[in-house]
Amino acid sequence: MTTADLDKTSELLVVEGLTKAFAGVHALTDVSFDLRAGEVHALLGENGAGKSTLVKAVSGVVKPDHGQVFLRGQPFAPRDPDESSRRGVGVVFQELPLIPDLSVMENVFFNRQPLTRLGTVAGRRMRARAEELFSDLGLQGLDPVKQVRDLSVAARQFVAIAKVLADDPAVVVLDEATSALGPAEVTWLLEQASTLAAKGKGIVFISHRLAEVEDVSDRVTVLRNGRKVGTWDRGQASADDLISAMLGRTLEQLYPVRAAAPRPNVLLGVQDLSAGRRLRHASLDVHEGEILGVAGLEGQGQLELFLSLYGVIRSHGTITVAGERRHIRSPRDALKAGIGMALVPEDRKTEGILPTLTVRENLSLPILKKLHSHGILGRANERAYTQPVVTDLKIGRGDGEQTASSLSGGNQQKVIVGKFLLTGARLLLLYDLTRGVDVGTKAEIFKTVQKLANDGYGVLFYSSDITELANVPHRVVVMFDGRVTADFPAGAFSQEELVAAMVGQHPGPGPLGESDLIAPAMP
């Protein structure tokens, strides 16, 4: 054994010179990484930097082209994530690959179901085990027999976490596990991570939220374009340093200057809007040129609010657009009323983007009626309509002729927004547009949003990220239990107050000390 080999045994997990290419494109180039027992090691990088590929290469989802992985000094090359988890490296994948038609406990114990003597699954024993596991994890609200299909994304996230922890692995990888969670749930997860680390396990923590990373991690490794930029100990690098490392350049401002003050006339009026069980008599106004932030814990009616305004679900109450009462029963009605919606559906798999078509074709789809003459689409005509939007929103390469699938996540979001601008929408509903999006793209999206507000568009902006809510909108309303329960002007509230309002305490801001204010620029 050489000295280098001895070194490996002192580490829990060692990755050496991992390289992986897909169809000739390098997703990972010679990446090395190590994880000590008892530490939380954060992995940072923009979308496409190679974080997920690294995780997949370690856990057997993809086979690395070069390089080796060692677990406790032994070569580690599992065939699939199931074997990886059994042998000690459990991954909570970003895509939450659960089995929708099976129950929560069937998912948690998949391939490990306790069996009866007849070879059948012992349901009662499995249920008891699941209940024990959930209570150990503080997840008593999770019903073991409920079908995963019927769960919210946050609840699925819990199932995926429980599934991995059920194997009691030495290494736990959390790939974007907080992106679907609200603040209280994030706190829970970060606590779990720290507890597990204290027990001597190694945690790999992947998140786009720098605040979380700084909270929880002992070391941070940054990847960029499939290569490792470096590893820093806690406190060694500032948030700015990390962002520069991720981007390869300095980002002057994540949150651009807010758009000018909104105009006095109300663009959207919502009164006593109710839908389903979740939305109950919610009221709010959005002015011209205003970005109205919506805050709320998962399931407080905000999704129903957005879906009602876009006519996806049926609602009762009064909706006025530019002073005129509108009955919105379908997305068509909404479009006619000038309401456009960019929704990041909860699972991010269907984004209203047609990946094989070009940007131009994607953009012109809702306005084909306007474009064709004598049944033929004039390409010049089509370009005349779509090109200003491509240029205005700076979509991708800027010529509109690349396929949507070749665009980055942020650029795809812009295509969704652009589509609605072309339909003549004056009001945009943006639902968690930045979830799981890297900082560089976020900055682009915020710039676009501020520009639209300056141009007089009204924007309803829901985000699960509190720092964003503090820095992007002109005003933030809080939804709790299906109602709007608090209304905060920008800059006049602390993060604590916002969270308190989100969990249903203390509506309305009180007097503030300067130090309580959330910094308007960087997180």
């Binding site: 038609d101 059948t120 008593q140 409920k146 946050a154």
Partner: protein, 342 residues
């Protein structure tokens, strides 16, 4: 329509609920259960009593035995087909396997020892056919539709080689079994009951869980350690086995051979599965509903016969019912789910 799916877990905050009583558990289970197989049984029973009111003597041991005997090849075929459909696939080759099986039976079943020997051959052939389908679909990643369309044709060709035209015969001792009774209950009823019991056991095994998982979410199943090719080979092998057994039942029922017998049974087999509430998208459904689906199709033919309509009406009705079942199946389930969320 996007439903705001439920479950707000406040970590650490919510105490475990009071454990429900057994009756409460049963009620909860009934509410969670899929309504589609129940609907299939209601449809079947409604048709059965309609038939009984049109024709005297239907509600008798002998008549029910005949009904089940007539349904036996179809329901056996549909058992395997259903499993394939649960993986979100389709097996058209079962028609070819059935044709080949009955052709072999008609030619080679000359006495009881030959019957036993060649029955085994038929079953081995059926399983082999399934393994080939499963390997092509699982390992070579070909489309189930194309693979089984091709192998259907191949087995039909082999059947014509074995028995060029309708004809041949099987020993009466063999063919009589399907119409006989054991312990006062018709053998065909026993056969369906036995299949149902096997199914109820099988459904609770790990293999079955993998099959459901594969159909429910392929990626999720993979991450959870389901070996897709192996699971598909097992699934299609079971389907081939069922088709071979169905061939034996078919030979008993007709007491002769028909090298194209299976062609007319593919659509009814798929229809029985779908009417029985199994989703074509995979991951949902099961054999209990399929039994009702298969019986419904047989009864439909009987009712058409009672009305003295030409027999091609049955073919028309089968197809019609399949479309209606596909149409209703999805909406019935979403209506149920919407009602439950209320």
């Amino acid at each position: 329509m996007i439903e705001g799916a439920d479950l707000s877990v406040a970590p650490g905050a919510v105490a475990a609920g009071v454990p429900p009583s057994p009756a409460g558990r049963l009620a909860a289970r009934a509410r969670r259960g899929d309504i589609r197989p129940v609907a299939a049984w209601i449809l079947m029973l409604a048709l059965f009593f309609t038939y009984a009111s049109l024709q005297s003597g239907v509600i008798s041991n002998a008549q029910i035995g005949t009904l089940c005997a007539d349904t036996l090849p179809l329901v056996t075929l549909a058992l395997g087909e259903g499993l394939v459909i649960i993986t979100a696939g389709i097996d058209l080759s079962v028609g070819g396997v059935l044709s080949l099986g009955t052709a072999i039976a008609a030619v080679h079943f000359t006495n009881s020892s030959q019957t036993l020997l060649w029955s085994i051959v038929i079953i081995v052939l059926g399983v082999t056919a399934g393994v080939i389908n499963g390997a092509l679909i699982g390992y070579l990643r070909l489309q189930p539709f194309i693979v089984t369309l091709a192998t259907w044709s191949i087995f039909d060709g082999l059947a014509l080689e074995v028995l060029p035209t309708q004809g041949g015969s099987v020993p009466t001792g063999f063919s009589n079994w399907i119409g006989a009774s054991t312990a006062g209950i018709p053998n065909a009823v026993w056969a369906i009951l036995v299949m149902a019991v096997i199914w109820l056991w099988f459904k609770q095994t790990k293999v079955a869980r993998r099959i459901y998982a594969l159909g429910s979410d392929r990626e999720g199943a993979r991450i959870s350690g389901v070996h897709r090719p192996r699971t598909l080979v097992a699934t299609y092998a079971i389907s081939g086995l069922c088709a071979a057994v169905a061939a034996l039942f078919y030979a008993m029922l007709t007491a002769s051979g028909d090298p194209t017998a299976g062609d007319g049974l593919i659509l009814p087999a798929v229809a029985a599965v779908v009417i029985g509430g199994t989703s074509l998208f995979g991951g949902q459904g099961g054999f209990i509903g399929t039994i009702a689906g298969a019986l419904t199709l047989t009864l439909l033919g009987d009712v058409i016969f009672v009305f003295n309509l030409p027999s091609y009406w049955t073919v028309f009705a089968d197809g019609f019912l399949l479309v209606v079942a596909v149409l209703l199946g999805g909406s019935l389930r979403s209506l149920q789910l919407r009602w439950l969320r209320r």
